[in-house]
């Protein structure tokens, strides 16, 4: 690693120790990216419904690429109950996000690994920003779907009409919807995504702190060596000397 430093530092006006991510920061970035792989095998979110008649509960799990019941027929039974209030059938086929989310995530993971490989702080900032935007967009999109299902009801064919009742489940937390207590909470994947984001932020913090105060004798020595080699070449023929 140390050997490549001069070439990358060359030509920059910013002190090299502020342009580069430390080893720890790069490891954190790589870890955050790899952690996101869990989302391909575990659900992102979970909505549980408990009612007096359903002490065992009904539940729905939302993955990046699919949506289904906690128990085999839960989604069918949720749809079956929803017909009383005129809610549209929740049909995974009708949610295009489930088709492209795996690709968005793949891009994010790939970019994160590239950031860790390149080790450049500005790229890291860009990646973390993209991560935040993607996560926020995902949550907003989730909210939009719940809003849509909860508000756009088929009033003409609804069997039970309770004025003022909104059937939108919460994104996080618990809400009483008629006889059901709906609880929405991140599932394993959602928690993993949160941890990944925390790691990404940590990577930024570490990177910034390293910039302010180079730490460790080895890194200091590497920086000194880099300066020593880089400085004479600077005014003259630039690279590769």
């Amino acid at each position: 690693m140390g050997r490549r430093l001069p070439a990358m530092v060359a030509g920059s006006r910013i002190p090299p120790h502020q342009m580069h991510m430390s080893r720890l920061s790069r490891l954190l970035t790589a870890a955050a990216s790899l952690l996101l792989l869990i989302l391909y095998v575990t659900p992102l979110w979970r909505i549980s419904l408990i009612a007096p008649q359903y002490p065992e509960g009904l539940g729905m799990r939302i993955w990046i690429h699919k949506l289904g019941g906690v128990k085999e027929y839960d989604l069918d039974n949720i749809n079956q109950l929803n017909h009383y209030i005129g809610m549209r059938v929740i049909d995974p086929q009708a949610i295009p996000e489930l088709r492209y989310m795996p690709w968005v995530l793949a891009a994010l993971i790939g970019a994160g690994l590239v950031v860790a490989f390149l080790g450049r702080r500005r790229v890291l900032y860009a990646w973390v920003a993209a991560f935040v935007v993607a996560a926020t967009a995902g949550l907003l999109d989730f909210w939009k779907w719940t809003y849509d299902y909860g508000h756009n009801l088929d009033w003409e064919n609804a069997i039970i009409k309770v004025p003022g009742t909104v059937y939108q489940p919460p994104i996080i937390g618990t809400k009483q919807i008629l006889n059901f207590t709906a609880t929405s909470w991140p599932d394993v994947g959602g928690v993993a995504a949160g941890v990944a984001m925390a790691l990404a932020f940590a990577a930024v913090v570490v990177a910034r702190r390293e910039g302010a105060r180079p730490a460790g004798a080895r890194e200091r020595a590497a920086l000194a060596e880099a300066r020593r080699r880089a400085t004479p070449a600077r005014p003259a023929t630039a690279r590769g000397s």
Binding site: L67, G68, E72, Y73, V89, P92, I159
Partner: protein
């Protein structure tokens, strides 16, 4: 003896007083009411410790109670038509009632027996006998449903049944009434010459494949009860018999003359050999085997035409008689398999035979005589001991696995605890009144669950609020965990409970089916979605394929049915949710409603007799709009030109999306 009787009566009176005054500590086998209550209290929402399965007696069914609460959980319909859910009325279940005598809508169940593995209850099935028209049923314990019924030919009064061998290899049935074999028109006075008993061994370990392996032709006694050997007596089966006098009239007197009757000890391994060696004869016989196809859930009948018959004189060594005092009723094998306890109902002792001594006596040929080729062993050569002065009218014995035996005393109305080996009486407790069977969970297996004993009483008199001339029968729960038996609870039972079985709830409760998978329903008339529902005619037969789902039927209007048509309503409950049942009934139908389990198809047949409008409705309160779950059939005169129509297509499309018709794909995990 009079002193003993008086003592028991006084004890009963004191206990009765003790229980009448709440909170007053009771004596002699009672607990303070509060203590007893706390022992049987199962808090709301909590589960019982044990399932118990009691014969429904003359109700023909099997009842299921939780213990220790004594709360009834279910009545499983077996041998009697059950209007409550359509058992024996729906087209799918009628075949379960087929016999060589035609459709038999009722019977009398006596002895449920749990399936066993290695001599311990395994929680798979309950077998139960039909006493009147001899049959044995198998009840599946993941669904609490009767799956299979096998009729027993050459038999009358299938009383010594449905006991099983330690690995459920065989279930048995022995004839209470001897009859001519094969049954023919003979003078009753020819009893001794023409009447025979049979002991039937049926293969019981393969669902849907119950088969009679062989029948043993016996002298014309009355065979009463049985139990399989285990441990040292493994491979043997024991049956009590009475009326060795071979009386055929006024048995009350004439069958009570002999000093001793017999326990028939059957070496069924030897019998298997004899069959293999070709010593049996295939005799023509007509009997029904009814079973439910697992996927279609439609019952089928196959009529069988022959049975393998073994005559002990052609095959020495398959049966021995053990002399046993005075018309023995129960024969019960202790958990070790060494002792055979007989309940000589008119005897003044409880005789106990020893397996070891029996095997030795057979080896040494200690026979006192032979009856129709069956050696009779010498009483003293097989006797292990006698319990002296146990009480009056010993019937049945169960074991606690700690070396104690408990015997019910019908006449002195008590349960007596005594010690195996020393034969001393340890304790006695009155029961109310006239106890028949007793049951300790697992008490007839290698591994008794020796905490409770249930006494099943024939008479209740003043024990409950009176209900006219016909009073309830009852069970009494007795704590046997300590030295002294303690009465905990009385609870009413259906029919007359004879024998019972019980087992820890854990063996069963987590294996319960919650619904039938619609995708696997292969009923010929299954309707998986409203798109497939409809009505069709073929001559005078109209078939309605109907869907039931919260909260409607589809179709719910049918026109074009004519007077005299045979209308089959094949209704499928397409719900795939736990405890969401629907029911179906039509005005004026001459059959019972049917209850539809989720994912199940049931067919009700109806022949309308008058033109008019006939409503149908859901009979099982299924949902908030259950009262709206109804429909109409228009019946026109025969030959009318009203077209046959049913209203399905309009709303069907939205329904399809809600309940997929295709084999289900698992979206989540």
């Amino acid at each position: 003896m009079r002193k003993l009787l008086l003592g028991a009566t006084a004890g009963a009176a004191i206990v009765a007083v003790g229980f009448a005054c709440r909170g007053t500590p009771a004596v002699s086998g009672g607990l303070a009411a509060g203590d007893a209550a706390s022992r049987v209290y199962v808090a709301p929402g909590q589960h019982d410790e044990l399932y118990s399965f009691m014969s429904g007696g003359f109700s023909g069914q099997l009842s299921v109670y939780g213990l220790p609460s004594g709360r009834m959980l279910k009545v499983v319909p077996v041998f009697s038509q059950n209007a409550e859910n359509g058992w024996g009325y729906s087209e799918e279940t009628k075949a379960m009632f087929n016999t060589s005598h035609g459709f038999v809508p009722w019977d009398d169940t006596h002895h449920p027996e749990a399936s066993q593995t290695n001599g311990e209850i395994d929680g798979r099935w309950i077998f139960i006998n039909a006493n009147n028209t001899p049959r044995v049923a198998r009840i599946d314990l993941t669904r609490f449903e009767t799956d299979e019924i096998l009729e027993i030919p050459n038999a009358a009064g299938g009383h010594a049944s449905a006991f099983v061998t330690p690995n459920t290899e065989y279930a048995v049935s022995a004839t209470r009434f001897s009859v001519p074999v094969p049954n023919t028109d003979v003078p009753i006075a020819d009893y001794k010459k023409s009447f025979r008993g049979t002991l039937t061994f049926m293969k019981a370990n393969e669902p849907g494949r119950m088969r009679i392996a062989f029948q043993i032709l016996m002298p014309g006694f009355n065979y009463d009860l049985g139990h399989a050997g285990k441990g040292p007596s493994d491979g043997w089966f024991f049956f009590t018999s009475y009326n060795s006098e071979q009386a055929y009239e006024k048995l009350e007197l004439n069958a009570s003359q002999a000093d001793k009757d017999f326990i028939a000890a059957v070496n069924y391994r030897r019998a298997e050999q004899c069959v293999a060696e070709g010593k049996g004869k295939n005799r023509p016989a007509e009997y029904a085997h009814n079973y439910v196809d697992e996927k279609t859930r439609v019952a089928k009948t196959e009529m069988l035409t022959s049975v393998m018959m073994l005559d002990p004189s052609d095959c020495p060594g398959i049966v021995y008689y053990l002399p046993t005092p005075k018309s023995p009723h129960g024969v019960d094998v202790d958990p070790t398999g060494e002792y055979l306890v007989a309940g000589g109902k008119l005897a003044t002792v409880i005789p106990v035979h020893s397996t070891t001594k029996m095997l030795k006596a057979i080896e040494e040929k200690k026979f006192e005589r032979e009856i129709e080729g069956i050696p009779v062993l010498q009483y003293q050569a097989v006797l292990a001991g006698e319990v002296k002065n146990p009480g009056l009218g010993p019937l049945h014995t169960e074991f606690d696995g700690r070396g104690n035996a408990y015997t019910s005393m019908f006449i002195s109305s008590e349960v007596v605890k005594w010690r195996l080996g020393t034969w001393e009486v340890l304790d006695r407790i009155p029961v109310y009144y006239s106890v028949g069977h007793i049951m300790i969970p697992g008490g007839d297996t290698k591994k008794p669950y020796g905490k409770y004993l249930v006494a099943m009483n024939k008479i209740t008199k003043d024990r409950y609020l009176p209900t006219g001339p016909e009073l309830t029968q009852s069970a009494q729960l007795i704590d046997i965990s300590g030295d002294k038996m303690k009465l905990l609870l009385d609870f009413p039972t259906i029919g007359e409970p004879h024998y019972a079985q019980a087992m820890p709830a854990e063996l069963i409760k987590d294996r319960q089916l919650k619904f039938h998978r619609l995708a696997e329903n292969t009923h010929p008339l299954v309707t998986r979605s409203e798109m497939d529902a409809g009505v069709s005619r073929s001559g005078k037969r109209v078939t309605v394929k109907m869907v039931a789902i919260r909260s409607h039927f589809a179709p719910d209007n049918i026109e074009g049915v004519q007077v005299g048509d045979t209308v089959d309503f094949a209704v499928t409950n397409v719900e795939q949710d736990w405890d969401i049942l629907h029911g179906f009934a039509v005005l004026g139908m001459n059959t019972a409603e049917t209850i539809l389990q989720p994912g199940e198809t049931r067919t009700l047949r109806w022949i309308p007799k008058k033109a008019g409008i006939y409503p149908f409705y859901c009979t099982d309160f299924c949902s908030a709009l259950h009262q709206e779950m109804q429909g109409y059939v228009r019946v026109s005169p025969a030959g009318s030109n009203v077209p046959l129509v049913a209203n399905t297509s309009n709303k069907a499309k939205s329904q399809v999306a809600r309940m997929p018709a295709e084999p289900h794909k698992n979206h989540g995990n």
